[in-house]
Amino acid sequence: MALTDKDIKKLSHLAKINIDSKDEEIVLSKLEGIIKLIDSMQKVNTVNIDPMSHALDITQPLREDVVTEKNQKNDFLKLGPESNEDHFIVPRVVE
């Protein structure tokens, strides 16, 4: 499947990674190389094969509903790129 400039723009938007327009061509060509590599799967017959998400055939363990975490707000807010005494701060969110 050939990639287009439009695909690159869409991917950039979805992944929230800015791609400089001067780099678009090179990004596109390298991605195309990878797509070509993974397209070699397409010839494999996978009818009636269950997808495998996990290496081991085990099921989800459950946690008891008990509070184990304590308030570390001050430490965590300090690690934020921008924060006040209560919140992490970001540019205004438009709804």
């Binding site: 509070v67 707000k73 965590f76 209560d86 919140h87 992490f88 701060i89 438009v94």
Partner: protein
């Protein structure tokens, strides 16, 4: 041209657990910002989700309460999108294989509203706007709170039906103890999908989803506004664009959201950090045994065992607190019909006037019991009881018996005291007696009224009627 309204509802129900769905952080409401935000809530590098047992149990419990199938295997997926209050950049939710499938609730006259699915997922945090100019504050206390998202088929055809479903669901989730039902705090949030189509048409119209509905009143207003707006658009030859709209309670209007919706390719895939959730028949049986009696069964019981009428029975079971209150009164030996009547008519009137829920009622139960007992033993009349109830509502310390005394509301039930009054009224109201004799029943009531007046309201009205009947026969 006439139009059909088609409504489906997605409800986000916060499950009442001590901790978040994937971490041991507390879910307590109303904490200062970010105090419940742990490493996992903040999506720190290297942190991993571990599923809360209680959240799973509550999801199953709900499924059983709506006669749904409980999936033996269900899977958690990632819904990928960027938003500042979504710390991981994805929400863990069940997508292809939810834990609850194919249930239903009935509303009104036995109309079935099908519940397509209910799935477990995590709540997002909160964005606090206008902290500073052009800035938004992020509070991640709510991030990771367990949610059950309950999705109906588009089976409702009016705002009334939608409200009836939502209220029924709201009652049920509290009844079975999976949600506190607090709509103001966001514990029970409905998104309503509304579309219209030409009457009788098979093809569904394009829907718009109304968000931000935190009361039933808002929901009704929003649906009505939205329906009218859509019909207007279509009649003007415009097309409806699928979108998400916000309801503004101040204007009563809905408006399309500006963000979020553009290019929502969520790239769902199974979360590799979580394994398939397996639920055994044994798990299901265990939870079923904790389910208790559901409202539908309670209604039947009220009608069959206590001979309540359907209307009273459904109001008594409209929430669990009321039902439990009723049950506790009955267990004191009170008459079910009188008790039901007092709850439905008098107590609810007070609650409604004061915009309170039954949970917030401050009525002194012991005195309320005594009050009904005094009606039953004919110490006071229903009217006198209302006077005392007013006092009791205002001041829980009021004592019923003392008030009966001090207000002189004790009813006279002694025949020898009432008979002279009856005879006096007959003697002085010959015209009315004649009318009664000639077949006018109304005259009888007038005569009763005269006797009551003469007794200053204290005579037992039942006894007055009996004695009056006897005396009139003698005339």
């Amino acid at each position: 041209m006439s139009w059909d309204i088609v409504i489906g509802i997605e409800t986000h129900v916060q499950l009442t657990t001590q901790t978040k769905i994937f971490s041991g952080a507390s879910t307590s409401y109303g904490m200062p910002a970010n105090e419940n935000a742990c490493l996992v809530s903040l999506a720190y590098p290297g942190t991993l989700p571990v599923l809360n047992k209680e959240a799973v149990k509550k999801a199953i419990k709900f499924g059983l309460a709506v006669n749904a199938d409980i999936a033996e295997h269900s899977v958690f997926a990632r819904k990928n999108y960027f938003y500042p209050d979504l710390p991981k950049g994805y929400q863990i939710s069940q997508f292809e294989l939810p834990v609850v499938n194919n249930g239903f609730l009935t509303i009104g006259d036995n109309k079935k509203i099908r519940i397509l699915r209910a799935h477990l997922e995590e709540d997002a945090g909160k964005s606090v706007h206008g902290i500073l100019n052009n800035q938004t504050g992020i509070d991640l206390n709510r991030a990771g709170t367990p949610l059950l998202e309950i999705v109906t088929e588009p089976d409702m055809n009016s705002a009334q039906e939608a409200i009836a479903y939502a209220k029924k669901l709201h009652n049920l989730v509290q009844w079975i103890g999976v949600c506190d039902g607090n709509m103001q705090e966001g514990s029970f949030r409905c998104d309503v999908n509304v579309s219209v189509k030409p009457s009788g048409s098979e093809k569904l119209g394009t829907r718009r989803e109304i968000k931000n509905l935190n009361s039933f009143r808002n929901m009704e207003q929003a649906i009505n506004f939205e329906v009218n707006w859509q019909i207007e658009q279509l009649e003007d030859g415009n097309e409806i664009v699928q979108s998400t709209v916000l309801f503004n309670p101040d204007t009563g209007e809905t408006r399309a959201m500006r963000s979020k919706e553009e290019a929502n390719d969520y790239r769902y895939f199974p979360d590799p950090d979580l394994l398939p959730l397996k639920i055994t028949q044994e798990d299901i049986d265990d939870i079923r045994s904790t389910l208790g009696e559901l409202p539908e069964v309670s209604i039947k019981r009220l009608v069959e065992d206590f001979k309540l009428n359907d209307a009273d029975a459904s109001i008594i079971t409209s929430n669990k607190k009321t039902y439990e209150f009723f049950q506790s009164l009955i267990s004191e030996g009170l008459d079910p019909k009188i008790t039901a009547n007092w709850i439905v008519v008098n107590l609810f009137a007070k609650l409604n006037d004061n915009e309170l829920s039954i949970n917030e009622s401050t009525i002194n139960k012991d005195q309320f019991v005594l009050l009904i007992r005094r009606i039953m033993d004919k110490t006071i009349s229903n009217n006198a009881a209302k006077k005392i109830f007013d006092l009791l509502w205002d001041d829980p310390k009021v004592e019923v018996d003392q008030s009966i005394e001090s207000l002189g509301l004790k009813q006279v039930s002694d025949s020898s005291a009432i008979l002279p009054l009856v005879q006096e009224v007959i003697a002085h109201n010959q015209a009315m007696v004649e009318q009664f004799k000639s077949g006018k029943d109304k005259a009888f009531n007038a005569l009763v009224g005269q006797v009551m007046k003469l007794s200053k309201g204290k005579a037992n009205p039942g006894q007055v009627s009996e004695l009056l009947k006897d005396e009139l026969n003698k005339v």
